[in-house]
Amino acid sequence: MSDTTHSQNLFKRLFGGSGVGTTVLILLVFYVLLLIVFSFLSPFFMTVRNMTSISSNIALIGLMAAAGTPLIIAGGLDLSVAAIAGLTGVIVALLHAAGLPIWIAVLCAVGVAVVIGLVNGVLATYLRLNPLIVTLATMSIVTGVSLILTGGLTKPLSVDGFNWIGQGRVFGIPVPALLMLAVYVALWLMMQKTHFGRHAFAVGGNPDASRLIGLPVDRTQISLYVMSAVSGAIAGTVLAAMLGAAAPNAAGPHLLTVIAAIILGGTSLQGGRGSVWGTLVAVLILGTLNNGLTLMNVTSFWQDVTRGVVLILAVGFDGLRQRMS
């Protein structure tokens, strides 16, 4: 075996099968270019201070996009994840205000997320409803419930030890970033090394074949809906700890960025293809783009336009590349 094929194998092992590795590689190159361009354009960009500040924001998006990736690979879709993040903060703040210990409150909020995930999963699999509609509906319900519970107000949430999750540092690296990295490593192990992960790829790649092979199609998808909801809850906890407050709709505006990151990262909406590393790099790109443009005094209105253009360019290029090969 020649040297090049060996390094290709190594690469494939790192970034997951199905040719998604190449997409991740292209994204990485694009990310590095972005870093180079912005460090020329703005002297503040490549500072430790700036880098740590964007990493917390990136971590928030990253955590919400984390379990959404395996879910889309398995042929599902979850639009309720950002709403769940909002509700989580609200539940934690209210239960804590009612006198419950903070970590018990967090546990309760995660429990609620599990239930929402189960509802999403059961409706989308056993009842064969379109996941787009199902999770759009739960998103609306969950957002509404958050607003009802708080009366639309932001609840303060300042607890020693708890806020560390959002604001603390370990060796200078923000805790949210470390948490995100841990979640991605765990998901990567799950997708590449376990039977469950293999089933997720199979179920998304060809649900009919998977059923006829006797794979647990519905069970796999439901588990992933639950995981997606839980990753929303983790993001919500981090967000509340970061802000020192629970705002019912704090995470809502990030939903489109989350979905955009998953698609940009090479995960196919048709299912069966994708990798969590692709999503991570895409989150880095979108976060860096935001930050760089802000530093260059581009208004947030133009940032929206730029993000859309980058998305079309990246996905278009990848589509073209795959059709060529």
Binding site: F196, R198, D208, R211, L212
Partner: protein, 501 residues
């Protein structure tokens, strides 16, 4: 003198898919007002030839003339413009639209819909076909299958079709309904429409066609006049001498083999009625049926992919068995190889290894983790045993030929836990070489103790492969044959008229 020019001339048509040649130089002429029956076994090239005519496929070489002029269509729409319409086996109508809309809908319609006009045009065409009693406002969803087929033909007429290609137009119809279709075809013929009629039903072909053209293995295998030709001559032309060489001599059936599977009065409303049989260890039981006969349902029903049957008692390995789901079927010891590899057989983007171990993946891992090393060893073992042509276990299965994909789909179930293997159309879309190999492997697996149930619409396959065979039609078992039954025996058994429907 115009009438002496054929409506269609296809000359020396060659078609290759990659390295596989499907058509090796086929010629076909159709005169105006002529009904030509196109016959051939599965894989003979009938559908490919017709898809080339209708520009669904591009030809590798050869020439097509319509009314004497050379044509080279870029898309099916170009073919439609010169009046060629293809009616596929599955009836394609819009059930939620009414008859008039279904008939008058075509690619050229633009602007607002003139309801009075389309109703008038629809009535005209229906009158012409002798179905003036159908009201243009009726929703197509409310029509029986046969009348939907008629709507489809009416649509073709409305768009000025003068070359109609039909693939098994009577496959899901009763005999009376088929007779209706024939009446229409005769009317079309009088109007000068040329018809190419693909069918497996020999009886029909002799009844309706003016000329029979037989293809075999991508070549013309003979032309017959239905008024003078003998059925056996046509069948011989279809089957050729290949059958003998396809199937090798095999070890005799084991004496006193235990019953692995039995079913009594198995029924699924509208699809399977009162099916009973026994399957022994070491035996290959073949079920032959034409498309729409229930042959494509029976295997799935037993495996569990159709959910619970309405009625029937079954045993598997001596224990009572009730189909529930594919997962439960697998756990009970049944393996199932589907007819449609692409749609429900393989995970196209996954590797040969991942596809091959998919059914019993947990046997190779430890706890929740997979073991790619052990999977690779297992895959390499089967690649060698079955002669699967692949660059290695990590190759994407999509890049393999149909025959090699099929070997992977079979190997997937070769696990000691599987006592009974059900195969649907085991060699559909598989080239001749791989087909022979698959047959010989299936015999080996059976003789080593597996019970094998093969369901197929390929009559030679069932005749050559089975130790015992059943013939199914309209969901019922019509006949049982012991080893040595010929394709002719099976085919004529399936063509018996049914008294009760």
């Amino acid at each position: 003198m115009n009438t002496t020019i054929p409506r269609i001339q296809m000359l020396d048509i060659v078609k290759s898919f990659g390295t596989v040649r499907v058509l090796e130089g086929v010629s076909l002429n159709v005169m105006p007002g002529e009904i030509v029956a196109l016959l051939g076994s599965n894989g003979a090239g009938k559908s490919t030839l017709m898809k080339i005519l209708t520009a669904n496929y591009t030809k590798t070489s050869g020439e097509i003339r319509v009314n004497g002029a050379v044509v080279d269509f870029a898309s099916p729409r170009d073919a439609a413009r010169v009046g060629i319409t293809f009616l596929p086996q599955e009836i394609s109508v819009f059930p939620e639209l009414n008859i008039a809309e279904n008939i008058c809908l075509n690619a050229e319609s633009t602007g607002a819909v003139n309801w009075a006009d389309i109703a008038r045009r629809a009535r005209l065409v229906l009158d012409d076909l002798g179905f003036g009693h159908l009201a243009p406002e009726t929703l197509v969803a409310d029509l029986p299958v046969a009348e939907r087929r008629i709507i489809e033909i009416a649509r073709a007429l409305e768009s000025q079709t003068d070359i109609l290609v039909m693939d098994e137009p009577t496959a899901s119809l009763s005999e009376q309904e088929s007779a209706q279709i024939f009446t229409i075809l005769r009317r079309l013929k009088e109007r000068g429409t040329s018809i190419v009629y693909i069918s497996h039903y020999l009886k029909e072909v002799f009844e309706i066609s003016d000329r029979i053209v037989v293809l075999r293995d991508g070549l013309n295998a003979g032309e017959f006049d239905p008024f003078t030709a003998q059925v056996t001559d046509v069948v011989n032309a279809m089957l050729g001498k290949v059958a003998g060489a396809m199937f090798e001599d095999r070890a005799p059936l084991p004496k006193e083999a235990p019953v692995v599977f039995s079913c009594n009065n198995l029924s699924l409303p509208g699809e399977i009625q009162d099916v009973s049989f026994e399957l022994h260890a070491g035996e290959i039981l073949g079920v032959f049926g034409l498309i729409g006969s229930g042959v494509e349902v029976l295997g799935r029903l037993i495996f569990g992919a159709k959910g619970q049957p309405a009625a029937g008692r079954m045993t598997l390995s001596g224990k009572p068995y009730q189909p529930v789901s594919a997962l439960k079927g697998k756990e009970a010891g049944i393996g199932f190889v589907t007819a449609e590899r692409k749609t429900d057989g393989i995970m196209t983007d996954m590797s040969v290894r991942e596809n091959l171990v998919a059914a019993f993946q947990r046997d190779f891992g430890s706890g929740p983790f997979t073991s790619p090393e052990r999977e690779t060893a297992h895959t390499l073992d089967w690649i060698a045993k079955l002669g699967i042509k692949t660059s290695g276990p990590e190759q994407t299965i999509r890049l393999l030929s149909g025959g090699n994909q099929q070997k992977v789909c079979v190997a997937r179930w070769l696990n000691p836990k599987v006592k009974m293997l059900i195969l649907e159309e085991p060699t559909r879309g598989v080239d001749v070489g791989a087909r022979r190999e698959i047959y010989s492997h299936l015999v080996d697996f059976a003789r080593s103790g597996l019970a094998v149930l093969v369901l197929s619409s390929d009559v030679e396959e069932i005749a050559g492969l089975s130790d015992r065979s059943l013939v199914i039609d309209r969901g019922r078992i019509l006949a049982e044959f012991n080893s040595g039954a010929t394709a002719n025996d099976l085919m004529s058994a399936s063509a018996q008229p049914v008294n009760q429907t």
